[in-house]
Symmetry: C2
Subunit: 379 residues, 2 copies
Amino acid sequence: MSDGEASRRPTVYDVAEAAQVSIASVSFAFRRPDKLSDGTRQRVLDAARRLGYAPSAAARGLARGRTGTLGLHAFDLLLERADPLSETRPLVGLQSPRLDTDSVIEWGETDDDVLADPRAFPLYVDEVQRGFELECWSLGRPVMLSSGSSSDVSVADTAGRVDGLAIFPSPQTAPTLARYAPTIPIVLFSVAPADDPHHRVRVDNARGMSDLVDHLVDAHGVDDVAFVGRPEASDTVERFAGLVAASEARGIRSRLDPVDATVRGDDELVPQLRAMIAEGRMPRALVCATDQHAFATMDALAAEGLRVPDDVIVTGFDGTLAARLTDPPLTTVRQPMEAMGRAAARILAGTAGAAPADGRPFDVVFAPRLVVRATCGCR
Amino acid sequence: MSDGEASRRPTVYDVAEAAQVSIASVSFAFRRPDKLSDGTRQRVLDAARRLGYAPSAAARGLARGRTGTLGLHAFDLLLERADPLSETRPLVGLQSPRLDTDSVIEWGETDDDVLADPRAFPLYVDEVQRGFELECWSLGRPVMLSSGSSSDVSVADTAGRVDGLAIFPSPQTAPTLARYAPTIPIVLFSVAPADDPHHRVRVDNARGMSDLVDHLVDAHGVDDVAFVGRPEASDTVERFAGLVAASEARGIRSRLDPVDATVRGDDELVPQLRAMIAEGRMPRALVCATDQHAFATMDALAAEGLRVPDDVIVTGFDGTLAARLTDPPLTTVRQPMEAMGRAAARILAGTAGAAPADGRPFDVVFAPRLVVRATCGCR
DNA sequence: TTGTAAGCGTTATCAG
DNA sequence: CTGATAACGCTTACAA
């Protein structure tokens, strides 16, 4: 416990010396207890405990060639969340109260009031991440979380730390990833199939849109819809296409030009909606690409004095927790996020069963589910 | 890309050979770009890119003596959450839909309906964890997440993988931890101060209880309270003591025997409450140890036909998201969870400023905040 | 500016 | 059953 002495992490050598055995025996005591006599094993274990020995994962990883951990990497997305206010309201160091003091840190120094916004957490990715974590833990594997911008350095870093990597991709992700394909197994969330070696876990967006349109038409007599969101990520593209296809199938009108509401910079949303109102182009229903888009849309509509659902119907996609908390509560299409996260973990851990035909990657598709609340006009 | 060939992860040696340089140059190309001529560096980087080279974190960790990652470990708690239904309703393999098929996985196979319960996620720990993650990412450090039972093997394992470890302790954690103290810095969440070398991040429970009691007395004329929860974790102990002290200070009656509702097995709660009703011992307010306890209490009260807040006032502690979703919404005391997670990360990363006097560990205490909703009788 | 070589702490293969 | 000893892939003096 004295200062200069104990600071170095004890190694097999230290334990071996303390227990009067070879380093091999120390290793065996932990990894192959059966190959050691009871006495020796006990001696080693005691010494280890006494010294506070924790095997170095780095060394083990090196020797074994595998780290034992599974990784989850998120591009952009999470980083943006890390600073949800950067554009809206710059934080003047609020998020970093001084810690090197003896006094209690007052509430006002913590930002909690702004940061605890349910629209910011938990998001779609958070619920998927949770499923991933839970599955990993039940498999006894630690999880490595990382996040980074589109620059690939952080993925490479993470790729070097794990035995398999699940990824929430950004639209530009593909090229970066191709590189690590042969190296470790990779699971992509919510990316349309393509001719690459990555596994996929995704949701049937077309079906979700179809179910949604059916409800709008059958229950509310909707005959005119518009899509809110920019079709750039493959998820969003599929949803837009799905809406158009479903509208066509039901013989209702749908706009071919989506209302382009980027979630982050939704400042353009109000002008766009205002123009639609002025020009009499406002449809009966605004079908949003994600719940986040729906929140922004509802805010914008409120700013224009339009009531939901009386004047305009609004729907979301994802089924996040925050969708239950809007006023009125949001009708949306929910993805089975925890199950998706678990699926990714099982694929990477090799507990997902036999891979599909002839070594092709997994492409696991989940059915989404329509969650009817109040913004469509129900109740 | 051919199968047998590319499966091994490329190493410095492979890159060195491909780029016609020494392994040292490969390393320098990434770590000390300035020490290399532009030409060589470019050649190395190209080769690395071509081969899909990702430096092995294990090897780097070994060579450098630090892994660069920060860890977060949860005892019990999270494992229990991993299987929230194990006692209530055994899952017959539902949580593991077959993945090795070509067909879409239907909703009914995913468990989502039960697993998406906001009372199960996000919990207190999840919000703290998120703060930890966000801070780590903004510091450019990956996060290692692990979970385990009280058996110490998993902590030891995690301790060997990280440069610093934050821990949600279980009541029996202390002895296990003492061992790793000299090895890596450790932050304990929500643990009362003691004479050990660990850092602490916690909330001022006494103040939270005091604020709560003040409100109950001043706004609702409450003169009689009881505590629901088992005072075993130091957090709960402090809250119970805080309630008793605050009641005394305000001159109101408080029971010295807490209603013992374990969150997991809350089956005893109904009988206990029933007995209190029968014997006329039901107080005006039930002050619960955590939000989770409050949920269980509200359920139990409803089962007995008692109305909240008219017949009994109920309050929680933590301020989780789920507390906004009860009917009526729960009055509770919120902890600044994200800020707490961030604080832990900064302490471990060494960006928390100078440690307190003479090398003693950090003991960061946050002020909680009373969140008044409807279960206390407001509105 | 580039190359050589010595660790880093395990695991695993052989001998004894 | 136990002990030497050679990898494992990288970083980093130190040489060239």
